[in-house]
Symmetry: none
Subunit: 196 residues, 4 copies
DNA sequence: GATGAATGAGTCTTCATTCAT
DNA sequence: AATGAATGAAGACTCATTCAT
């Protein structure tokens, strides 16, 4: 019986742990030894699988993005109703549980880095394209079915995505004026007023 | 004429330079010596005026925020027309010139940090409150004057602010799908459709 | 036919590869993994045959020395003419082909180490003795046959050996003033003037 | 009263200590911390004056070479007699005292590196050129004055230099067949037989 | 016999911070 | 008020070595 590919397994374990540490402490203060402790291996092992810290972080970001996308696969196939679907999709971005908060924190950390790191930008692009096109598809479909109002679907998409992004970071940053509930209300209200 | 307060002057020079360096290289890779080089003093001098790096960064962020607010003072008094005012105010956040891009970059850097740094959060709050209340005031005033549609002005505010935030970061991160022009169009369209 | 001794075979393969790597990259930057890659086995295998790096290097040096000596066995039996023989023998040390250059490089690397490593010195001694005694014998024989001038044959030997050594290292180090041709001329001229 | 340039002073102290450590332990096992201990400063200080280990080593080699050359300045002006001069000059290379042994060890260490390091080669070249041209000048002058035999002075130079080099390394490596006395005899004999 | 995953000791290097001048 | 020399703690990274399979 073939031993499962240890390398692939280890890489995933390490990347998952890296994301955990990033969510907990941020990229700036992340030490390889933190990741090692989190995953339960020595620092040497981290370096055995990842050439250097930069590579580890970049791959961790990519891992986070891929996870984020695949986590929504089921959701996207769950309902044929465009209004339902859009609402559920938008709600899936609310930082209202451990998993989503972690994903948002990791996203926020890396997004800030991507402003001046071209390599990170190319990882972001994958997500950016997916997020935009998925949202666009839902809105277009709703319009085609006559369930959504008329208007440039790309513009609705841009508004919605930006708003989710902006609200989420305010929630994450503990803004006194914003929290998950208000975020949800705000997004639903936007959908009600402009799209549906 | 009294000799200008050297200390106050130096502190400002250093804070301004710190913001420049943050915009250029990011907080993560900022070294005290970079700031020293930028401002033209020695590293010793930086420490003479600021207890430690953390303090310097926090004050630099605060400086950036105060500048951002005061830069818009004139604009806010410039026109009595609510539609004009809202548009101009929103446009003032477009990252379309050296100054605004720098401010946004600094903001983005510190905002990411504020997610896990309570001290930074208190600096953010100052801006958050100002931004929110100013936007709220403009929208409320427009509604009172019957120039804006009805609807919860706080919700409009939240939508608008979040959208500006979300769009700006996409522009900063060189998103292939977003740029300053699209950002302006998106925001104007939002104002047209929902508020005005 | 008996199965060839795998252990002896492997050890030789590894030692030969070690010499190659030493010639290519030097002892200082040699990694066990380089040797492993060169020989086509894993690092584990290297350690399976050699206790540690130091042992590997020492044995590789010894291997290089033994090779160097045995490579000249045929030559030494090739001609009865002392002049011919001395010339051929000296010429065999010219770093004028891949094999000799490699041998010289390995020699140079280890020789430098031997200055402070007694274990290496004992390996050097084997070669030192062989080189000196062989040269001495050729010169003595030439004198006995009346083909070479009079004079202390040990002193001639010392001069010749040192000169070969000194010239070779200059050639290896890419001295602007020394190359293989000049080295040959210099050595031949020395032989002409002093010995023959 | 102006404070003497601390930087120049420190750099020399550190380079001198580096040479000491190289002579003692060799380049391969030299640690920045060894140099720091030797010179009496912290490792941070070493890096304050030298960008990295490589730079430190290269400059230390250059320092050793410059010292070696300047140490012989007086000697070269000491006597008008070519025979005397040549003998004294050659004798000055005998590894017969602490200072010369140290210089030879440092030289040997770096020379081995220079085989594959172009930067080191350029440092060597400085010495190579000086050594060769100085020796050449002494021999030529002796011939002009009719004190030395005829013959290509460049060839004599090459022989002599190579021989010194080769003999010195044998002495350094504790060859059983070579020591300082035999080295001196050999060189003097060569001068007697070939040049004078 | 051979492997390669895992280790961790050993070092270089960075940089905030201090302090004598 | 300002400097810059000096520090040393902290952390990334390398690689010989081990050992279960």
């Amino acid at each position: 019986m073939a031993r499962p590919n240890v390398e692939a397994l280890r890489r995933e374990q390490i990347l998952a742990s890296t994301c955990k540490v990033v969510a907990k402490r941020g990229v700036a203060s992340l030490r390889i030894s933190d990741v090692a402790k989190e995953v339960g291996f020595s620092t040497g092992t981290i370096h055995y699988y990842f050439a250097d810290k930069e590579t580890l972080l970049r791959e961790a970001f990519s891992f986070n993005v891929r996870n984020s996308i695949s986590r929504r696969k089921d959701l996207l196939a769950s309902t044929p109703d465009p209004v339902d679907l859009l609402t559920r999709y938008v709600d899936s971005y609310l930082p209202d549980n451990r998993e989503t908060v972690k994903a948002w924190r990791v996203w926020a950390e890396f997004w800030a880095i991507s402003i001046r790191d071209t390599d990170m930008q190319s990882v972001i692009d994958v997500f950016d394209v997916d997020w935009r096109s998925t949202t666009f598809r839902i809105i277009s479909q709703g319009q085609t079915e006559g369930r959504f109002r008329e208007g440039d679907p790309m513009q609705f998409t841009n508004m919605l995505i930006a708003m989710i992004d902006g609200l989420a970071v305010q929630v994450l940053a503990n803004s006194k004026e914003m929290n998950v509930e208000t975020m949800r209300d705000t997004l639903h209200s936007f959908i009600d007023r402009l799209i549906v």
